[in-house]
């Protein structure tokens, strides 16, 4: 695999959350590059296995056994905080919540008001802003593993999904909403005569149209999804900060070996491609 640990740079900070029943959540900080090994490991393994034969100027200098962890309960997820420097620690008091059907994760964390925080702005909004919301879609992460070197062995644990958490600025929207509501109240009385006109436009008879995308009157796919998202309730989770060793399951003893030859491997990765 080309970019081992490449994508962990100082702008990014990764954590792994074990999501189980909302009772206990384990969180650890993993700064080791292996933690974000992405792409499929078995690809690299098989590659290096076979390439040893024909690549004389790139000899194998060390062989490392690979262990694969089975996840028996819960699942592992990569949380990415784009825009947050690695040097800045995660605050302790974090409130995660999830919409499982919509695959959506939200994290509320206390806002760091010590730096770059404009108190005057907060005052002008007249609202107390204490929390920052970051959220994102849980993208299924097929073929992604967390790898750690334990006793000279690489231990891989499969990842269920990854999520990039972006700020939501709920407080600005809340201010907007409030002012919009106030405006509407003001206009309410003036707007009343206009309701008469709306009635007249209802009478339009639905005419058939060839251009209709198969269904008439239904919402677009994205809007339907958002409707479903809005209707779904948040499921609260709890946040724990733990070291990586406690968080990951105990490594299994069996070392994975591959019986696949190079051509088997190539067949595997291209199995769903139509041949000539």
């Amino acid at each position: 695999m080309a970019g081992k640990g490449l994508f962990v740079d100082e702008e990014e900070h990764d954590a792994v959350v074990v999501k189980e029943e909302p009772v206990d959540v384990v969180v650890m900080d993993v700064d080791t590059p292996e933690a974000t090994e992405t792409g499929s490991i078995d690809a690299e393994e098989a590659d290096s296995d076979t390439r040893a034969d024909d690549d004389s100027d790139d000899p194998v200098i060390n062989t490392v056994p690979v262990l694969l962890n089975q996840v028996s309960e819960g699942s592992y997820h990569i949380l990415q905080f784009p825009g947050r420097p690695k040097s800045r620690d995660l605050p302790e008091d974090i409130k995660p919540a999830v919409k499982p059907k919509s695959n959506y994760l939200q994290i509320k964390q206390p806002l760091d008001t010590s730096k770059f925080f404009n108190v005057n702005k907060q005052d002008s909004w007249g609202e107390e802003i204490g929390e920052q919301t970051v959220e994102g879609v849980l993208d299924p992460a097929k073929g992604m593993y967390v790898c750690r070197v334990v006793d000279g062995k690489v231990v891989m644990t499969p990842i269920a999904s990854s999520v990039q958490l972006r700020p939501k600025f709920e407080y600005i929207d809340a201010v907007d909403k409030a002012s919009a509501a106030a405006q509407r109240k003001e206009h309410e009385s003036a707007a009343k005569p206009q309701t008469m006109q709306i009635l007249s436009s209802v009478a339009k008879a639905p005419t058939q149209n060839l251009n209709a995308d198969g269904y008439n009157g239904a919402l677009g796919e994205a809007l339907r999804y958002i409707k479903q998202f809005d209707e779904e309730e948040w499921v609260g989770l709890s946040w724990k900060s733990e070291g990586i060793d406690e968080a990951l399951p105990k490594p299994e003893e069996e070392v994975i070996t591959t019986t696949a030859t190079k051509s088997d491997y190539i067949d595997m990765i291209t199995s769903d491609l139509a041949n000539l």
């Binding site: 695999m1 080309a2 970019g3 490449l6 994508f7 740079d9 702008e11 990014e12 992405t38 792409g39 499929s40 690809a43 990569i78 990415q80 784009p82 825009g83 919509s102 695959n103 959506y104 879609v137 993208d139 992460a141 073929g143 992604m144 990854s162 990039q164 972006r166 700020p167 939501k168 600025f169 600005i172 929207d173 907007d176 339009k204 008879a205 639905p206 005419t207 149209n209 060839l210 251009n211 995308d213 198969g214 008439n216 009157g217 919402l219 677009g220 796919e221 994205a222 809007l223 999804y225 958002i226 190539i266 067949d267 990765i269 291209t270 769903d272 491609l273 139509a274 041949n275 000539l276």
Partner: protein
């Protein structure tokens, strides 16, 4: 060309003098890959491939996308399409091809060569679910030689049984008896970003044309006042780029900066101002941005659709409207956000460095739309219409509250089946493609296949027409693009308004069809591409990181692009990935582009490794003995297809010797054969590399007009107009292309012995002197056959047209008009038909309208008929060649009479050599008067030497020398481009045979017998007779018909029109002072008309009476042109009174 038999010869152990035991030289013999390629691919394979893809794959996709028909009335009702097949039922044996009739019969009987479209449906009948298989919903026109055509894969013998020519390329349709070609259309590629700059206005714009099954739309990212905006037709205002990116979920300014500018300070400075814009508009959050967009969306709600809130409008716009080819179905907007960010980045890059713009004319940015795709668009439109009609119909039935019997939906499905058939037929026969979905109206998509000669039909199949308007005054689209090397013929383009816009495919090209994207996407991730969903925005444009783009959409990033590309290519060479998926690196954009879309032109090249060709002697031996086919080379990774973009990422050696000569360079590929830069038509030219390039272009146009053999079935064909050469010869100097496209089997021309000298003065301005004895021997003799169709109609009152026998005079002999017809009223085969004679004696009933009420046949009056015979008109008589009588699909008799003329060359007939040197016959001279050489040979043609210096057609001279050597040697010589028989060798042969090395001979005058004062360049040159013949053009008129409206003589030869004395001629006559001549030409001989003009009011009256003044007092007669009188009256009708004021002449 599917005919295996024709190619077997090429692949025989002993082929063209080369035996199995002969040494195989890779450098020379690798060209054998070309016939192998053409055997598999053929010259029109692109049409067949695309049609096959349409009927086998695309149709199923269309069915899948429109599979459900639901009712608004009954929620339980549904009809689902399960499968679709063309030309065979679910039960029929594999390989069954069900077509209406063999293609040639369709041609003759004016039918459409089509196959039934069968669908399997599942639907509800009452409470039951019923599956019905093999329901015919219409008929699909079948492309000849496609896998739905009965000719597919037939041997030469079996083809002959169907009256088909085995050399006919196929790839066209037969609709209502005419052969229709859907020309290849060239378009700008869809779903790709194109960056353009207008340096004068300081505008940079990135645009993308998104094309989905439902709609087509264009999204722009443009600069305006140094700020960047997103523009889309359905958004009323331009949206600042930062706001649209925020709406697409990139909430932090930092991330926007990372995605658009990376860490490049120059880019950051350019982009910075856009953040201020968004801040000024107080848009900070995604919610605010979506509202901002939603407010500006032009709502075009369909009737019945719910009214959306502004927020919903905004979401809808970002999710589906903008960059419509990427659809978002959940909350993950990242792909789309990155696409817009990439567009913005490309704009910023172009602002920073104006060279970073794309070239619209670059062949890699173009896609070719083929018959299959066009028919697919049409079919989907018709199928949707079919379904909505069907739905309306069942709704109507289901709405009725009480139905007597259970409703079976299938009963009403067949009502509309004609719509699909008719729609397809109409579009192909008129060439008007109107698609309601895209609001597309395109005319001139199809053309009648030109059957002037074999080569003109072939040239038409490889033609590509461009969608650019011809009127635009830009030279770019017309210019020769370096990137078209090997893909599009460099010589073959018409002159004049379509110059450079109509192109032709080169000899060894392939046009891709769509490949699946998903497996490729997965493979990219396996090969180490980091998905955009997990990659951090900051690393996206970090130095050394390359984006991986699949069909223009960012998939992820890769750290080691070279390795990625290398392993991808390796998989492709192993045959694991489709050979037509292309991958290449663009270092300027730090991008790896993978393309799987259809319509890319690509061509095969030999793979080179460590400056060694992978194809070696052993492989070529296998090919020659027939062990291997072209695809084996592909399978073994010896040859691969490159498209234009990937070609740009390679170093291709022209010849094998270049590999070893330039050891410092790392070649990646080797050309299979350099002469494949030319197309099929340009390939006819011998030694084209010695000609001035426009001459080759002229020849390409003329080669298509040459009269020759059309097809093996040419005498069975009944076409509107066909020309045959009576004794066609294969050229003495041929090219490899000629053999490959079988021009030697269906040639169009004759080898003429040419003397390049002046003779008689009738040879000025490229005129040719022809030898009368040569013409007697058959030189340039051709036949012209013309079809005349007569329909015998049936009328609603049960009367019908009839044929009547011939009328005879008192002696029992036929009257003059009926001399050519027999007792059946039809022309007799072989009979001579002269001007004014009848060849079909048709009679039409006088009463065709009213139904005669009398039911008793005895009471009915004898039906009366009126003669409406088919009259022959023409200066020269014709002979009846064939008479065909058949029935059309609506049971009306169809009579086709083929009339033939045999023509000898005459003064004014046009001839041309294969070097763009055309000339007309200036004089026909008795052989006795022509010069002769030592052997007593006199020339067939004398050509004036002034034709050479300015034209610089050196190829023609070499053709003469090679031809002469060939004649003396008894061999056919080659004039293949970039190769062929060497001049030195030819000269050697000439010297050996006792001739001058330069091809000059000593000639003696035929008139005086004296030796001519100079040596004359003398030898055979292949001459084509062009279709422009004097007999078809000669025209004169003393008096004749006049147009009804203007009373002026009619226009044009076909209407026996007059010759116009035009403006410029008028100017000359005025300048000369011959005003009376002017009066005569413009009025007296044309439309003189006597009018009564009232001198009081100045208006025209009649019969010496002025209607305005109610008097005849001052009415004078005068003669004016009728057209002038007409003008005055028209002006009066517009309330303008033109008053004539008369004065005395003397």
């Amino acid at each position: 060309m599917g005919s295996d038999v024709a190619f077997q010869e090429l692949l025989q152990p002993e082929f063209r003098g080369k035996k199995l035991t002969d040494e195989i030289n890779t450098a020379q013999d690798k060209w054998n890959l070309l016939p192998a390629f053409l055997k598999v691919k053929g010259l029109v394979k692109q049409h067949l491939d695309s049609y096959n893809y349409f009927v086998d794959v695309d149709l199923k996709k269309i069915i899948k996308a429109n599979e459900l028909v639901l009712s608004d009335v009954d929620p339980d009702f549904y009809l689902k399409y399960l499968d679709i097949r063309i030309g065979h039922r679910s039960t029929s044996a594999p390989g069954t091809k069900e077509v209406i009739l063999p293609p040639h019969e369709c041609r003759l009987r004016d039918l459409t060569y089509s196959a039934p479209i069968y669908v399997d449906v599942e639907y509800t009948r009452g409470k039951k679910i019923v599956i019905n298989r093999d329901l015919e919903i219409g008929r699909m026109p079948v492309m000849l030689r496609s896998n739905k055509c009965i000719l597919d894969g037939l041997s030469e013998e079996k083809m002959a049984r169907f009256d088909e020519c085995p050399l006919d390329p196929g790839g066209y349709f037969i609709v209502n008896g005419t052969e229709k070609v859907i020309l290849v259309q060239e378009q700008l590629s869809k779903n790709r970003i194109i960056v353009e700059a207008d340096e004068k206005k300081g505008i940079v714009q990135a645009s993308v044309t998104s094309s989905t099954h439902e709609r087509k739309s264009k999204t722009y990212v443009v600069t305006k006042n140094d700020k960047i905006y997103l523009k889309h037709n359905s958004i009323a205002e331009d949206i600042p780029i930062v706001i649209i990116l925020k709406a697409a979920g990139i909430t932090s300014d930092l991330e926007i900066m990372q995605l658009v500018c990376g860490s490049n300070p120059a880019y950051q400075d350019i982009f910075m101002v856009n953040f201020e814009e968004a801040a000024k508009l107080e848009v900070f959050t995604q919610h605010q941005a979506l509202l901002y967009v939603g407010k500006r969306v032009k709502t075009m709600r369909r009737a019945g659709a719910p009214k959306l809130t502004q927020l919903q409008e905004g979401i809808e716009a970002v999710a589906t409207t903008i960059v419509a080819h990427l659809t978002v179905s959940d909350l993950q907007f990242r792909e789309k956000a990155l696409y817009i960010a990439t567009m913005a980045r490309r704009v910023v890059m172009a602002i920073d460095n104006p060279k970073m713009v794309d070239d619209r004319d670059y062949v890699g940015n173009k896609r070719l739309e083929l018959a299959g795709q066009l028919v697919s668009l049409l079919f989907e439109d018709l199928f949707k219409k079919f379904n909505s009609d069907f739905k309306l119909n069942i709704d109507k039935v289901l709405k009725r509250p009480s139905r007597a019997s259970e409703f079976d939906a299938l009963l009403s499905i067949n009502i509309h089946s004609n719509n699909i058939t008719q729609g397809l037929n109409r579009a192909i026969s008129t060439g008007n493609w109107s698609l309601k979905r895209f609001k597309m109206e395109r005319a001139g998509v199809t053309h009648v296949l030109s059957r002037l000669s074999y080569i003109s039909a072939l040239g038409m199949m490889t033609r590509i027409s461009s969608q650019f308007e011809k009127s635009r005054k830009v030279s770019g689209p017309r210019a020769l693009q370096p990137s078209q090397f090997g893909m599009l013929c460099t010589a073959d383009t018409p002159e004049g308004e379509a110059c450079g816009l109509v192109k032709n495919l080169a000899l060894m090209t392939h046009i891709t069809t769509d490949d699946e994207e998903d497996p490729i996407r997965k493979l990219c991730f396996v090969l180490g591409c980091e998905s955009i969903l997990t990659a951090d925005s900051a690393t996206m444009h970090a130095d050394g990181n390359f984006g991986v783009y699949l069909n223009g959409t960012l998939l992820g990033i890769i750290r080691y692009p070279n390795k990625f590309v290398a392993s991808f290519r390796q998989l492709r060479r192993l045959g694991k990935v489709s050979a037509f998926v292309s991958i290449f690196t663009n270092t300027h954009q730090s991008a790896v582009h993978i393309a799987t879309d259809g319509g890319r032109i690509c061509r095969p090249l030999i793979i080179v490794e460590n400056n060694k060709s992978r194809v070696n002697k052993e492989h070529l031996r296998k090919l020659l003995v027939g062990e291997w086919q072209f695809d084996d080379f592909l399978k073994h990774g010896l040859v691969e297809y490159l498209d234009v973009n990937e070609e740009n990422d390679s170093l291709i050696a022209l010849y094998e010797k270049n590999l070893s000569d330039n050891a410092g360079q790392q070649f990646t590929h080797l050309e299979i054969e350099p002469f494949t830069v030319l197309g099929a038509v340009a390939g006819l030219i011998p030694y084209p590399h010695h000609n001035q390039s426009p001459r080759n272009t002229y020849q390409c146009a003329m080669g298509k007009q040459a009269i020759g053999a059309i097809a093996y079935n040419q005498f069975r064909r009944i076409d509107t107009l066909l020309y045959f050469m009576v004794y066609p010869q294969q050229p003495m100097v041929k090219t490899k292309t000629i053999e490959l496209i079988n021009y030697d089997k269906l040639p169009a021309g004759q080898n003429a012995t040419v003397a390049v000298m002046s003779y008689s003065g009738y040879d000025i301005e490229d005129a040719l002197v022809l030898n009368k004895s040569s013409i007697d021997r058959g030189f340039g003799r051709c036949q012209v056959v013309r079809k005349n169709t007569v329909h015998l109609k049936n009328y609603p009152n049960h009367t019908k047209d009839i044929l009547s026998g011939k009328r005879v005079d008192e002696n029992g002999a036929a009257i003059f008009q009926h001399e050519a017809i027999g007792t059946d009223g039809l022309g007799e085969v072989g009979a001579k038909v002269t001007n004014g004679q009848i060849f079909v004696n048709k009679h039409v009933p006088t009463n065709t309208g009213d139904v005669v009420m009398n039911h008793n046949p005895a009471d009915q009056p004898m039906e009366s008929y009126r003669e409406t015979p088919a009259l022959y008109k023409g200066p020269e008589p014709s002979y009846v060649d064939q008479v065909m009588m058949s029935v059309t699909d609506n049971d009306q008799a169809l009579i086709k009479v083929l009339l033939r003329q045999t023509r000898r060359p005459e003064l004014g007939d046009k001839f041309s050599s294969r070097h763009g040197q055309k000339g007309v016959c200036g004089i026909i001279v008795q052989q006795e008067d022509l010069p002769f050489n030592d052997q007593g040979i006199s020339p067939d043609i004398i050509m004036n030497p002034h034709g050479f210096p300015s034209r610089m057609t050196v190829g023609k001279m070499i053709e003469l020398i090679s031809g002469k050597a060939g004649v003396l040697n008894g061999s056919l010589e080659y004039g293949t481009c970039f190769g062929g028989s060497q001049l030195e060798d030819m000269s050697k042969i000439l010297v050996e045979k006792g001739f001058n090395y330069s091809g000059k001979d000593q000639l003696y005058s035929g008139i005086t017998g004296e030796c001519l004062q100079a040596y004359i360049f003398f030898g055979p040159i292949y001459y084509q007779k062009l279709k422009h013949m004097v007999l078809d053009k000669m025209h004169a008129r003393a008096r004749g018909p006049r147009a009804v409206l203007t009373r002026q003589p009619t226009e044009g030869r076909s209407r026996d029109g007059g010759l116009r004395l035009g403006e410029m001629e008028r100017d000359c006559v005025i300048a000369y002072g011959a005003s009376q001549l002017l009066l005569e030409r413009l009025m007296i001989s044309s439309d003189a008309f006597e009018v009564d003009v009232c001198n009081t009011c100045g208006l025209m009256g009649y019969n010496s009476w002025c209607t305005t003044c109610k008097s005849s007092e001052n009415v004078v007669k005068m003669t004016i042109p009728y057209a002038a009188k007409l003008l005055f009256q028209e002006l009066i009708s517009m309330n303008i009174a033109p008053r004539l004021k008369l004065g005395d002449v003397f």
